[in-house]
């Protein structure tokens, strides 16, 4: 019982995020004329996927106690790259996927190397590499455009039934056993798969623990004999990989590549917001990428609600800002409870 209490207390951040998301999302569906329907879920999960990936990418740097200002740029770079590569024969497309994922990871690897071997603060190093990545994206796509395999783009942004129907699995998706899950949105499934198959193993590996240890106290981690450099590079590389996945999905969603600098910046900033709302400490050492997924879900659900209530689009940016401030100020209640001022400085 005591152990359960401790676990709940230590995960208060992410639990709050899940609670807020459920509340907002149920509220949204209640007020939507076609609420609680698969079509809505598909549309919503499409809109969430990229931000969720970029937020997971940001989590990696934040857990180390840093900040990655290049996640939006990596996403954009991979977006532009993918807009050339995701066409042709199935083999070419698969190859394209691999190249794009490798490109994202390579960007992250470069960040990690600069941070580790150049001994430059992550926020500044990624500020600079972000400019470089955007520059390369502009080389690739001076103006928006590109070509993506239509079937692929269609099934990836739809439900499981469409995969089966398009590629002829399970009697074209009509198999009886398949029906209960046929409505499930593909992007949502992908988020779950990525979280379970990539993030969870990483966080339970020694390298993953080392990332937490570094964020909590780098000196102590070094003294404990941990492989700090390797863990940092691994974290940034994984971050680049996640951001790259976001870029690939953006390409599938829009069927084009666009080296849009403001968009890259917006994704970077939103990723920070998502990470914080998801219960990860900006000081490092506490939090998880799963929390960041929920942070991204909350951010997007807020704008879904705006759509429903047909709030003047001009007021929307203001509301977004106020909600963000309100969300982070909730955390400040803790400050009022602190009775020993010195505890504030830790």
């Amino acid at each position: 019982m005591e152990n359960l209490q401790i676990r709940l207390r230590q995960n208060a951040g992410i639990l709050t995020a899940i609670g807020i998301f459920v509340l907002f999302y149920v509220f949204y569906n209640f007020n939507h004329p076609r609420g609680f329907a698969p079509a809505i879920f598909i549309q919503n999960s499409n809109e969430v996927f990229t931000l969720a990936m970029v937020a997971m990418a940001q989590t990696m740097a934040v857990l180390l106690g840093g900040l990655d200002l290049s996640v939006g740029a990596i996403m954009t770079l991979v977006n532009c790259l993918a807009s050339y590569l995701l066409v042709g024969s199935p083999l070419q497309i698969i190859l394209g996927f691999i190249v794009c994922m490798a490109a994202g990871a390579a960007c992250g690897f470069l960040n990690g190397c600069i941070v580790v071997y150049g001994r430059i603060q992550p926020i500044i190093a990624t500020l600079a590499t972000g400019a470089i990545f955007i520059g390369i994206a502009l080389f690739l796509r001076p103006s928006p455009g590109g070509n993506v395999d239509d079937d692929l783009s269609w099934v990836m942004t739809n439900d499981l039934y469409e995969i089966a129907a398009t590629y002829g699995f399970f009697d074209d998706g009509e198999a009886a056993w398949f029906q209960p899950i046929a409505w499930f949105p593909v992007p949502l499934l992908l988020i779950i798969l990525i979280a379970v198959l990539v993030w969870v193993p990483f966080s339970r590996s020694v390298t993953g623990r080392t990332v937490y240890a570094i964020g909590s106290g780098e000196g102590a981690a070094y003294m404990s004999g941990l492989a700090i450099n390797r863990a940092k590079i691994a974290a940034f590389t994984l971050g680049g990989f996640f951001a790259g996945l976001g870029g690939i999905y953006l390409t599938l969603q829009t069927s084009s590549g666009n080296a849009d600098i403001p968009q890259a910046g917006a994704y970077t900033l939103n990723s920070i917001a998502a990470v914080v709302i998801g219960g990860t400490s900006l000081l490092g050492g506490i939090g998880s990428a799963i929390g960041s997924i929920f942070g991204a879900l909350i951010l997007r659900t807020i704008s879904f609600n705006f759509r429903i209530f047909e709030i003047d689009p001009l007021m929307q940016p203001l509301f977004e800002g106020v909600v963000l401030l309100a969300a982070v100020s909730l955390g400040a209640i803790r400050v009022l409870r602190v009775k020993n001022t010195l505890d504030l400085f830790r």
Partner: protein, 506 residues
């Protein structure tokens, strides 16, 4: 393990000069010396934190060299550092097993890790620590025990303790020593650094003394007297341990500087009544964590929601921040617990650190008067006899004792009437300790009222005119004059003087 001809330089400073050192399996080897004598560098080299400029290390007769702490760990050399090597945001279980956790399918097996932590904690008598807790949420003394458990988890063949007991309660120290004796009997080599002579007497088999980066002598524990050892450490004769205590003043001659009535805070302080008089050194005693630190912080305006009354020089005051406590008319000063994080701005210069509390007084309008500032810095260095290269050097380049002198000098510049000290001599060499005792007495004689918390009973006995012993947030006894004995302090600290059985400390 043997070291031969080890030399290490930091910039122009030679920290270790052609040192030979050997320790053997199945014995406890104490390393003694003032701060800056090279002890820390020695163990840093042995544990792979820094690399020697010259010399050879051999382990079991084979030459070894460590590029990083993990290399040393792999060779079976494990160090428990004075500065905690725990990650505060990770759980106790994570911390204990972090370097080599139990794994299943390549991933950390949390259950096995939890069990392992429970076993190790039970072994050192810390069953009360839940391995799921974050280290951040543990009190300092428990954290140090976790640190020890973490070291044991690595199954060392050479175990090094760098002031590892300085944060522990005496009961924990006894338990740790029992374990160390057990390990020694199992054939592990143990090297320990401590400034507490009685602990060395209790545990060590052999002693080595270092001074100014040189290995002076190695001898069997007990073959030299304490005075001889101290003389070896500082290289000169020392007259007395503590400055003489003046005879107690008659009550009518006492002038009250600080009067505290019914001070309470959360569940840590309850109804504290205490008076400080000018010219008096009052000690705070008791087991660690009975509210002594909170009392000092509460008096200094750091704690919120303190109830009760604080009177300074007869006038009631409300203190909401240290800036209030510093104001003219109140004139308080606090030498904080942790000089590295609370007392000093380590990367900043010695000069900046010295004047940081008195800038307001040195300002001429809104601009700081540079001449006055330089003068103040020179005076401060002079008054405390701080050994500095240049006042513009970073304060982090100074030895621990000199750093503490900077903290004290900083506050002396504000001419405090009430000085609060939180364990100011922890981890400081004998020579500087004595200077601090002397200084406290001088300040008291000049009219200051001093409240002095120490974990070292000898200091309380040697320095204080009066000792208030705390237990569970209350002052349970006040000892004066000849009543200040180790026996009285300890029995009050355990709260058994009044015949009540000690309750479990919360």
């Amino acid at each position: 393990m043997t070291l031969a001809g080890i030399t290490k330089r930091y910039g122009g400073v030679t920290a270790l000069d052609d040192v030979d050192f050997a320790c053997s399996l199945g014995s406890v080897h104490a390393v003694l010396g003032e701060n800056g004598a090279g002890k820390s560098t020695l163990i840093k080299i042995m544990s792979g934190v820094v690399q020697p400029d010259a010399g050879v290390m051999t382990l079991d007769g084979r030459p070894v060299s460590f590029a990083r702490p993990s290399d040393a760990n792999d060779a079976g050399i494990v160090c428990i550092f004075q500065e905690l090597s725990l990650m505060p945001d990770l759980t106790v279980a994570d911390n204990i097993s972090i370097a080599d956790p139990p794994r299943r399918f390549g991933l950390i097996d949390r259950r096995a890790q939890h069990r392992r932590a429970e076993q190790l904690l039970a072994r050192i008598g810390c069953e009360d620590v839940n391995p799921l807790l974050r280290v951040r949420d543990l009190p300092l003394s428990r954290r140090q025990m976790v640190e020890i458990a973490k070291a044991l988890a690595k199954d060392p063949t050479v175990l090094i303790l760098d002031e590892a007991t300085s944060a522990l309660t005496s009961a924990d120290v006894d338990r740790v020593f029992d374990i160390l004796r057990g390990l020694r009997d199992d054939g592990i080599a143990i090297i320990t650094i401590s400034h507490r002579m009685h602990e060395i007497e209790a545990i060590a088999d052999e002693c080595s003394v270092f001074r100014n980066g040189r290995h002076i002598d190695t001898f069997a524990q007990g073959s030299k007297s304490e005075a001889e050892i101290v003389q070896m450490m500082i290289g000169r004769e020392i007259s007395a341990h503590f400055p003489p205590r003046p005879p107690p003043k008659p009550p009518e001659a006492l002038e009250t500087a600080l009067d505290v009535a019914g001070l309470s805070w959360e569940d840590r302080l309850s109804a504290i009544d205490l008076s400080l008089h000018k010219g008096e050194i009052v000690g705070l005693g008791g087991l660690d964590g009975q509210g002594q630190k909170e009392l000092l912080l509460g008096l200094f305006g750091v704690l919120k929601g303190v109830t009760g009354e604080i009177k300074v020089a007869g006038k009631p005051v409300r203190l909401a921040a240290p800036a209030d406590a510093k104001k003219a008319g109140i004139d308080m000063a606090l030498i904080p617990e942790d000089r590295k994080t609370e007392g000093l701005l380590l990367p900043m210069s010695i000069a900046d650190n010295l004047v940081i509390s008195s800038l307001g007084a040195l300002a001429n309008g809104i601009l700081v008067d540079r001449k006055a500032l330089q003068q103040a810095v020179a005076d401060g260095i002079d008054r405390m006899q701080i050994k500095v290269g240049a006042p513009d050097d970073p304060v982090s380049t100074l030895s621990g004792g000199n750093q503490q002198k900077v903290v004290i000098a900083k506050w002396l510049m504000t001419d405090p009437a009430v000085i609060l000290l939180n364990d100011p001599t922890r981890g400081i060499d004998v020579g500087t300790k004595q200077e601090i005792y002397r200084l406290l007495r001088d300040l008291a004689e000049a009219g200051a009222a001093i409240l002095f918390y120490s974990t070292d009973y000898e200091e309380l006995i040697g320095c204080c005119d009066r000792v208030a012993v705390m237990y569970d947030g209350r002052i349970v006894n006040e000892l004066r004059g000849d009543d200040i004995t180790e026996h009285n302090i300890i029995s009050s600290a355990l709260n058994i003087s009044e015949g009540t059985a000690p309750e479990a400390a919360s």
